[in-house]
Subunit: 426 residues, 2 copies
Amino acid sequence: MNAEDLIMISVDDHVVEPPEMFEGHIPDKYRDRAPRVIRQQDGADVWTFNGAIIPNIGLNAVAGRPREEYGIEPTAFDEMRPGCYDIDERVKDMNAGGVLASMNFPSFPGFSGRVFAAAEDKDLAHAVLRAYNDWHIDEWAGAHPGRIIPMALPVLWDAELAAEEVRRVAAKGCHSLTFTENPATLGYPSFHSEHWDPLWQAVCDENVTVSIHLGSSGKLSVTAPDAPVDVMITLQPMNICQAAADLLWSRVIKKFPSIRFALSEGGTGWIPYFLDRVDRTYEMHHLWTGQDFGGKLPSEVFREHFLTCFISDPVGFGLRSLIGIDNIAWECDYPHSDSSWPNAPEELADVARGAASDEINKITHENAMRWYSFDPFAHRSRDQSTVGALRAEAAGHDVSTRSYDKGRFEKSVGTEIGKLAKMATA
Amino acid sequence: MNAEDLIMISVDDHVVEPPEMFEGHIPDKYRDRAPRVIRQQDGADVWTFNGAIIPNIGLNAVAGRPREEYGIEPTAFDEMRPGCYDIDERVKDMNAGGVLASMNFPSFPGFSGRVFAAAEDKDLAHAVLRAYNDWHIDEWAGAHPGRIIPMALPVLWDAELAAEEVRRVAAKGCHSLTFTENPATLGYPSFHSEHWDPLWQAVCDENVTVSIHLGSSGKLSVTAPDAPVDVMITLQPMNICQAAADLLWSRVIKKFPSIRFALSEGGTGWIPYFLDRVDRTYEMHHLWTGQDFGGKLPSEVFREHFLTCFISDPVGFGLRSLIGIDNIAWECDYPHSDSSWPNAPEELADVARGAASDEINKITHENAMRWYSFDPFAHRSRDQSTVGALRAEAAGHDVSTRSYDKGRFEKSVGTEIGKLAKMATA
């Protein structure tokens, strides 16, 4: 297929929350204590909540910067492309990049909302979290129907409230919950505890996919303090294999046969090896470890429960039949530095050259639609949804690369490792 | 190729050190303080050194046990197959398993000799370490020339002494040094420090391959304390990707262009994805991270410096051209629970069905010979070296499966996680 003919839905992008997001969503009694953006003396914009400063408004939101500057974290809204935080501008950027629809992980609250969970006043935390979800679903996703796959943050500190929130947002059409790759490293009961059962029951009842983003455990892939940052960049995706193994062998999968997890930004090329490894582990060890999937192999169980995705992964695409053609989706990762925006369609068409169009369609959009119960074609026709059609709508939209303002450039350079560390623990 | 026609050299097996190993190797002045085996009141044999008890004589040495009992660690020499600790019996087991030659990692000292390094008296530690290496090279490997690839333990606590020891053992024909996958987690300078340069210079000068075994960092792949042990078993091999990334992006590779590392027990199926990932990391990020391999891609550099290996890895074998046909070796993992001994030849022949014999020969023995400067054919002809010929020599050798003695079985059962944890930190 030609790049212009693809229909592309990204299951992993990022929203940079705009300063005014809580207005109209937070109850009056909490308005003064809701998170807010302040400008520091050095010109940096930061979120503040619960007495803490959250230093990263943008989490490596470098879309539109030259690659030489990828290590420089934007520290103010006016250093970012407006598409990072303005939904109308975002949709223009999506059009220019040929992206029909997109699922957006949070930035300042952390991938699993741990910034909210840190508040001692849990009523406040709960009000803020619900306001966030309402803003995300009603405003961010609601502004352009069919363009944003809505996603909710979890109530990390209470599994019953977490279940209640899943049911509440599902009633508003939200079928994706972002969650941590390892609750144990955040200080909560692990995936092996019964603690989370009310939440898992709710996501099953409400047909919600649990989306687990790399780096959401708060645990870094840092081999040594003096390791080059390239080491951590390399290792991030494969590290999500820890969450995959943790969940695959857990009681969760056995007790909740309809539960589904997405391994967000985890890549796909390592999955065939992983599936061989789990089957061999089962074959060699289940007689003493007691693992029992009712006669199924772990690899079969994986395909029933896990969605994988890639940005550009020639190995994974080539091995798609070993992964499961219904278990692979595509992601853009806008506005982070691993993204190929706005040229991702050409990159994907190149990787997919020669593949059958029904396989390409599953990977580019059909799997995402099914796993997230999301139908963009209720809002626009297929013909209007192709890369070519969307780009035509974006005619004249500026996607040229811009350098940072020199003065700010110097100011915002920190240690390389520190910047990536922030990404990894977000 | 038929299983009987294969010539198989294993680059990763394990020796269980026999009690009398230090006799004749340790200087008289240290004889009383050398490690020794004592029998505890509960019937367990343990090593003791430097005031400490080292609880694992055998590190999951379960060869010949039924799979139901793989979780039970042998705690006394008479609970193990003699092939674990007796070189004559080992060679019989190798013959019965069709294995021409084998490289054996240590058991009680830990994979990188950290038990010796823990002694405050560094003269004692040095004497014990040299005695260990002399025993391994002269007795264990020397008893049956051409059957054991000699391997030395490193002087972890002093890079100059480490270099000196590498030169000393190389003069005796030893071209493999076992080392930790991450010195930083053991409390030493990381791979990114100049600290180790004398050692790297010595291994380059002496044509020694640095063999890095999974679990040699002392850092566990445990997702949560209550995770099923299957999670850790699954994750161990891929975790060596951390050492691969750490070394590949390090200054070591750039400063020592002839240095070579082996990723022992690391599997191979994940390597093609890893190589794509490092190349993409380079492409997207090198302009700001400053990585520079003199115009080469990281994947090219990987193939110049890293040997990989597998026990049975259909995905890795299928992707051998993406890994590098000169970068793959086979391992048996005798006497650990992931081993297919004595049926590994049939397992490998099945995986390799249809492949060209020159490719199979590289993987089964030629790559191991070249990377470790080891020539078994100086001692026996190729015709005498095949699986079929070796098995003919082993006619009558008992390889039947035996259960543990029931009384000891009950005694030696610990927590599952505890047993595997010992493996992982050895």
